[in-house]
């Protein structure tokens, strides 16, 4: 059922309109990154590479970019382990409070970042731990767990537990069943979840502001650039780089979904 030719044409127009809505602001970022006058004039009178050159020379921007990658890797690693463990527990065991696990895992992503941020900064101060990279990783990992969890859980539900049972009937122990049956089945789901977690951590700003304690991640650098007039134009270059770099993980993610589809249908 596709609703006839008229319906299909309408759907196509609506899809095009939504895509335009989604991409026009990004296009603007790219145009401004090459506009000679930065954001102060529209339409741009002449194009230039000067913002690009300034951005490359800006050590603050470079350091912030590297910090963000380090933080996102740390948070993703924790989320990957904890999210997968929780998914295995929920998918393969019946226990009292199983319903609660999903609820508690999804809570950090639904509760406003400002509350999580204040909670962590207050706790670190109370316990006497310094804010900084560690605090940021803890904060990010907490709301990233659910992304891995959801992906892995969905996969586990589609992969029949009977395969693991068969494996153990054939004499494999728990570890072997996990290593040779479960892990290969969920590996791409874990990666897909990890990519989402990485993206979320890389871009997170609100929790980070509260717990950074002076550490500058890329979003913090961008946020602080709003304070410094001569730096605002570099923000568009940072945006341009982020847009270009996003092609890589998105490409990987779609390759993974293709795998997912194949595995899901066998």
């Amino acid at each position: 059922m596709t609703g006839g030719a008229v319906g299909r044409a309408l759907l196509r127009i609506a899809t095009g309109a939504v895509l335009f809505f989604m991409y026009a602001p990004l296009a603007l970022v790219i145009i401004y990154a090459f506009s000679d006058t930065g954001t102060s004039a529209w339409p741009p009178t002449s194009l230039s590479l000067k913002w690009l050159e300034l951005a490359v020379a800006n050590t603050g921007l470079r350091d912030a970019f590297l910090t963000s990658i380090a933080v996102a890797l740390g948070a993703t690693a924790i989320a990957l382990v904890l999210g997968s463990l929780a998914a295995l527990a929920v998918a393969r065991h019946a226990f009292f409070g199983r319903e609660v696990v999903s609820f508690v895992l999804i809570f950090p992503i639904a509760l406003p970042g400002i509350v999580t941020g204040m909670a962590l900064s207050t706790t670190f101060a109370t316990v006497g731990l310094p804010l900084g990279v560690l605090a940021i990783i803890v904060g990010h990992a907490t709301f990233c767990i659910v992304l891995v969890y959801n992906n892995v859980l969905a996969r586990l539900r589609r992969t029949a537990a009977s395969q693991e049972e068969a494996s153990s009937d054939l004499g494999a122990d728990s570890w072997q069943s996990f290593r040779f049956i479960t892990l290969p089945a969920v590996r791409s789901a874990m990666l897909a979840g990890a990519l989402l977690a990485f993206a979320l951590s890389f871009d997170e700003v609100i929790v980070t502001i509260f717990v950074a304690g002076g550490v500058k991640t890329l979003p913090i650098w961008i946020f602080q650039s709003f304070r410094l007039a001569n730096q605002v134009s570099l923000v568009n270059v940072a945006g341009l780089v982020a847009i270009l770099l996003s092609v890589v993980p998105v490409y990987i993610a779609t390759r993974l979904t293709r795998d997912t589809g194949a595995i899901g249908r066998t």
Partner: protein
Amino acid sequence: MHHRRILAAVAITAIVMSACGGGSSAAPTTGGSQPAASQPAASQPASQPAASPSVNLPTSVGAGEGELTVLAWPGYAENGSTDPNVNWVKPFEDQTGCKTSVQVFGTSDEAFSLFTTNPDKFDVISASGDASLRLVRAGYVQPVNVDLAKNYADIFPALKDKPYNTVDGVHYGIPHGRGSNLLMWRTDKVKPDPTSWTDMFDPSKPWAGKVSVYNAPIYIADAAVILMKTKPELNIKNPYALDDTQFQAVTDLLRQQKPMIGQYWTDYALQQQAFSKGDVVIGTTWQVITNLLQAETPPAPVKVIKPAEGATGWSDTWMINSKTKHLNCSYLWLDYIVSPSVNAQVASWFGEAPGNSKACALTPADQTNCDVFYAADDAFWQNIWYWQTPEATCVDGRTDVQCKDFDAWSQAWTEIKG
């Protein structure tokens, strides 16, 4: 109506606190010379001895400890990360071996909250008057032996020994520079040229909806400065010392202004942009923002004045964390940052009047900067009210009434914004 309820709540809090004997505090306990931060200050905040003059001040500055963390207004401690050519942190590192990292803030309240939630983190801070005294009272900053900074002698006398940097004769830092909040407008949209802040408060003006206002409770004082002139019967002597009646009149004026507001700003690049794009056409600003707008291509048509009523402003002080592990580096920084040439660089980059009297005569450009910002013109500063934290014990010296404290100001500010 609910003001009274809040007052009642505060009073109850105070009673509960005194009943419990003050309780313990989440604040760091600092050196013996510091005031106990755990005292219930609700009733008599100003009566506490801040520090006895017999504090143990350092007597010499040794070699640097190799590290320093700075909390500063944007533009005060540039290390080349904003603009590769603007860097006075590097020479400091080279001279002293103190590797310096810098964090910036947008309002005094943000500075205070950053400093207090990271009590061990920042060795030195550039504090405006509305943050400095809170830091002193709470014990977060330590007394400073100004004799150990040889440049202290050259600081303009008008900046020294002020209530926000010196308590009971004890110095808590080195004055750095000062500036005035100014009235800026788009000459193509606001005619004739305004001469008074009242143009930002009259809803019948055609630019209603396009007014830009600094987003901090301390902005309430700007309205008080107006009423000092337009309603002399209120008898406001100091815009930071407002009793109930005065405060009511001031907040009424701000409520009347609310529908006119098109932007609350703290980040100056955003105010610059709003003026440039015509989202706002009149507002309270800093000289540096006007300079940036006039330097745009094409230049934004803006003018700026200090209106006839006078204005609020800031006078900043470099202070040292009471828990610093890098005391020598901190002293080295305090002396370095107010040295004539560095002070001149900061002043012209940020756009304010330098604190060091010798910062003006170094180069013709420095002299121009000093003239633009009235560095040595005492008459200009006569009607400028430097930011200062309001207290229940009126800061204008009145003892017959209670004034609204900073809490009440913050609460009112949130309510005015609605």
